[in-house]
């Protein structure tokens, strides 16, 4: 057991560096499998895997070795197990532990891999076969990222005429930051919408949003000595929490669900206290202005500097279906100019291209909606607040071009914030934006574009 743990620990550097969904899911499975073995005695060990994927999955068989490799390495390092075999038996009503015992195995790890909405679910049970006793069970969920999609199938490419926007009413208005995260790790994502003084945690429930809870921002949070005239905010999901910052306050905040109730506390990272979390880095407001300086900290992109001052910044790397990585960096400048930098390929052969367009507003969100390796951007348009707005979905092409896929009808309110994430939990990301009420009173609308 200790040796298995040691073997697992030896895998940990690789686990920590796991970048793809397959690597992360394999590491999580190995950790769970080793953790379920303490009650087992010496003997041969069978790992039985059943894959329950739709018939159109392109390579379900290839998923098993990709996912199980770390588990087999870890178990084989345990001296109790004379042999560890990957096996497939016991279908059609036959009792697997008994059959494993009949085949000479002392232990059985029974693994089922299936798809549940937008996640790959891995369920496991460890058996002692001589008395058919189940010692432990576990369940792990992995989001269907491109590395897993290569085995289970990609969604259809998003065509311009297939874009279906919808909107739902939010409980309030005056929102300045938006993010989507699975705060309670139950597989159902939450929408976090923040405004000065309060954070709303919501969940999509059909054609409306259900309020999970409202959390006041503690009065002990220090106020910013000189905030900009327009309240500015940003929020980024980080696992089971959302880090956010609102210009009215002097520090960053973190939103969590504690016992199903949202709570807001002062954040201790990842951004410095005076910086706002962005998708791809941390940025600081220009003193006395409502836009950000180009210098970034904790940048995940290749440069720690945006091309110019900006209202909003997004950076992400997406992998094409053939595995070619492309990184996209987009900003909206104070002039209303949308600027894009695209880097395709891997070191040392990286091609960089740029594109720009004018007439856009502060709201900007980016995602790869159809997992084809190209980024889709949701942007608002340029006009003064109160003059209405419009949303555009723009595809950022790897060749460094922007193509408008969809443009909404003019809306009466103004759109200041946007975010990306799987808001409805179906496994496919959406782009979201908040339209504030035109009159400044009443309830804002949440636009969900996909």
């Amino acid at each position: 057991m200790r040796t298995a743990l040691a073997a697992l620990l030896s895998l940990l550097p690789a686990t920590a560096l796991a970048q793809t969904g397959v690597e992360s899911a394999g590491a999580a499975l190995a950790e769970a499998a080793v953790g379920s073995c303490p009650g087992l005695e010496a003997g041969a060990f069978a790992v039985r895997v059943a894959v329950e994927l739709p018939d159109d999955a392109p390579d379900p068989g290839g998923l098993v070795p990709a996912l199980l490799e770390p588990t087999l390495v870890a178990l084989r390092a345990d001296p109790r197990f004379a042999a560890v075999h990957l096996a497939s038996f016991g279908r059609d009503g036959v009792d697997p532990p008994r059959l494993a015992h009949d085949l000479g195995y002392a232990a059985l790890l029974d693994v089922t891999i299936r798809r549940d909405g937008g996640a790959l679910v891995i369920e496991g049970a460890t058996w002692r076969t001589d008395d058919a006793t189940r010692l432990a069970t576990f369940t792990r969920r992995a989001p269907l990222d491109p590395s897993i999609r290569r085995f289970v199938g990609f969604p259809a490419l998003l065509a311009d005429d297939a874009i279906s926007p919808r909107s739902v009413r939010l409980p309030g208005n005056d929102y300045v930051a938006l993010a989507i995260a699975d705060l309670d790790r139950d597989g159902r994502p939450e929408i976090v919408a923040a405004r000065p003084g309060e954070v709303h945690v919501l969940r999509l429930a059909g054609r409306r949003v259900a309020i999970v809870g409202r959390a006041p921002i503690p009065t002990t949070v220090p106020r910013a000595p000189s905030p900009p005239r327009r309240t500015v905010g940003s929020a980024v999901a980080m696992g089971d929490r959302v880090v956010l910052r609102i210009s009215e306050y002097d520090v960053g905040l973190v939103v969590r669900l504690v016992g199903g109730v949202p709570s807001v506390a002062v954040a201790d990272g990842p951004c410095e206290a005076d910086r706002f979390p962005m998708m791809g880095g941390c940025a600081r407001l220009v003193v006395g202005r409502d836009f950000f300086d180009q210098e970034l900290t904790h940048a995940i992109g290749p440069t720690a500097e945006a091309p110019a001052h900006f209202y909003n910044y997004v950076f992400a790397r997406y992998e094409a279906r053939d595995g070619v990585p492309t990184s996209y960096e987009a900003i909206v400048m104070p002039s209303g100019r949308l600027s894009l930098r695209v880097r395709t390929g891997a070191e040392p052969e990286i091609e960089e291209r740029a594109a720009a367009a004018v007439g856009y507003g502060t709201a900007l969100a980016m995602s790869d909606l159809d997992l084809d390796g190209t980024a889709e951007l949701l942007v608002s348009h340029a006009a003064l607040a109160g003059d209405g707005d419009q949303l555009s979905l723009i595809r950022a092409l790897p060749r460094g071009a922007l193509r408008v896929m969809w443009r909404s009808e003019p809306v009466p309110g103004s759109v200041w914030v946007a975010a990306a994430g799987d808001a409805d939990g179906d496994g496919a990301p959406e782009l979201l934006a908040i339209e504030e009420p035109a009159s400044g009173r009443g309830r804002a609308a949440l636009w969900i574009v996909r």
Partner: protein, 467 residues
């Protein structure tokens, strides 16, 4: 060829999709310089001694209060860190950390606040508000506890200290030379040229946010035609006097912003001299037709504001041969015009009113020595509501002690009504402000106190070429 044309058409269509002007949400543009004429000559800039709407505009741009009343009626901390803590009759206010003063960015400290509040005791417009606080050795009991905390002893339990400290005359002056370089914390720092002009520059560390425009320059007041000509030629971005000379359509796109503001003008009698009896004063009241003051920019009204009753004034037949004196500050052209108009009306009834044009200092001296029979006073309510309006009217009429006694009951409408009815002054009307300005000036508004929204102003964005 056809294919090439088709390709070009598709490309043009694609570009048009990308560059077509769109509507939406983009914040106001930053930067720019706005040049306006000063509507009136400008003296020292002191929030406790503000009389005109122009002075109020500048004071609002340069100074902040510890608290401010928002349009929805809530009181919000500005230079204070949060609501005051009150124990019995002792209130403590903690300063907002990091609040900085103009001119070098020194931190605002409790001593600045204490000094600023205590200096208002010598101001007629502001000192009555200090009736909210207890006295200590003849001074308001306001002291510094440490560098960031102020302690105030209240006149009685239940006084809304945050509301009182939100009164515009109690804005915090951090020091400096109020004739040249007043120091505040507001969105603009000010430099007065001493000749009636002022230059406001963006203060990026303002606690309520830096303004959108970088600079606002007020040039010294000038004659009507000069002002309009400079506006037409583009040397000024606005004019208080007119859209164009000779009534022509302006050569540049222009807009007009106007408002009738809640700052009434009152005619105050000196009851210690000729107008000591109600008959003489009633004769003066009966002789004045408010409608004839419209041409000096007053909208005729009988009441201080819509919610208050009109003062109960005596009425009597004008007593011909009565001789009265009305001093007017020579640097207040609108008051001079109003005084001349009143003199004309009284003259028709045989009452002789001599309008004396005096410098600011001589005017103050004449008022202090009771060398006057009538005077025009502007009422600037320090806070929203009926009570503050009634109190400000009392203070403007020189009844400071009555105003002071009113402070603890500012929120009681019945007291305000009684005070307004008992006011021994005639409401002449409410000020009407008109500003003609370039059309690309956005977010310009005039509030109920006649103040221009300088911090909110922004220039329109221009179309950026597609690159």
């Amino acid at each position: 060829m056809d294919r090439a044309l088709k390709g070009a058409a598709v490309l043009a269509l694609a570009l048009s999709v990308l560059i077509s002007p769109a509507r939406g949400a983009l914040p106001p543009r930053h930067g720019g310089v706005l040049t306006l004429p000063a509507p009136e000559p400008l003296g020292p800039l002191d929030p406790a001694r503000v009389e005109t709407s122009f002075e109020a505009t500048l004071a609002d741009a340069v100074f902040d209060n510890l608290y401010e009343v928002r349009p929805d009626g809530t009181v919000e901390a500005v230079l204070a860190a949060g609501p005051p803590t009150v124990e019995g009759t002792t209130a403590r206010v903690t300063l907002r950390p990091g609040a900085r003063l103009h001119g070098g960015g020194r931190d605002l400290q409790a001593r600045h606040v204490v000094r600023s509040l205590l200096r208002t005791t010598s101001s007629a417009q502001a000192s009555w508000l200090l009736g909210a606080f207890a006295s200590e050795s003849g001074r308001p009991a306001i002291r510094e506890v440490d560098a960031h905390t102020i302690e105030l002893e209240l006149a009685r339990r239940g006084v809304r200290v945050d509301l009182i400290l939100a009164a515009t005359p109690l804005a915090i002056v951090g020091g400096g030379d109020l004739r040249r370089r007043p120091l505040g914390t507001g969105p603009f720092s000010a430099r007065l040229d001493g000749h009636g002009g002022a230059e406001l520059s963006i203060f990026r560390h303002a606690p309520e946010g830096a303004p959108w425009i970088d600079r606002v320059v007020f040039t010294a007041a000038r004659p009507r035609d000069d002002e309009i000509r400079a506006y037409e030629l583009g040397r000024l971005d606005g004019s208080w006097q007119g859209r164009s000379l000779y009534g022509r359509e302006p050569s540049r796109p222009a807009r007009t912003t106007e408002a009738t503001v809640g700052t009434p003008w009152i005619l105050v009698p000196n009851r210690a001299r000729v107008l000591h009896d109600d008959e003489t004063w009633g004769g003066v009241v009966a002789s004045i037709d408010r409608n004839r003051l419209a041409r000096v920019g007053l909208v005729p009204r009988r009441t201080l504001n819509a919610g208050l009753p009109a003062p109960r004034l005596p009425t009597a037949a004008p007593r011909a041969g009565t001789r009265l004196t009305m001093p007017v500050r020579e640097d207040r052209p609108r008051e001079l015009r109003a005084a001349e108009a009143i003199a004309g009306m009284l003259d028709e009834r045989g009452i002789v009113l001599t309008v004396e044009r005096l410098s600011a200092e001589r005017y103050e001296r004449a008022i202090a020595r009771s060398q006057w029979d009538l005077r025009i006073a502007r009422v600037r309510p320090p806070l929203p509501g009926r009570g503050p309006m009634a109190g400000a009217a009392l203070a403007a009429a020189g009844q400071t002690d009555q105003a002071r006694a009113l402070v603890p009951t500012l929120g009681e409408p019945e007291v305000a009504n009684q005070t307004a009815e008992a006011l021994d002054a005639m409401v002449l009307g409410h000020e009407h402000i008109v500003l003609h300005h370039r059309a690309d000036l956005r977010r310009l508004s005039i509030d109920v106190l006649g103040r221009l929204s300088l911090a909110e102003l922004a220039f329109a964005r221009t179309e950026e070429p597609f690159r």
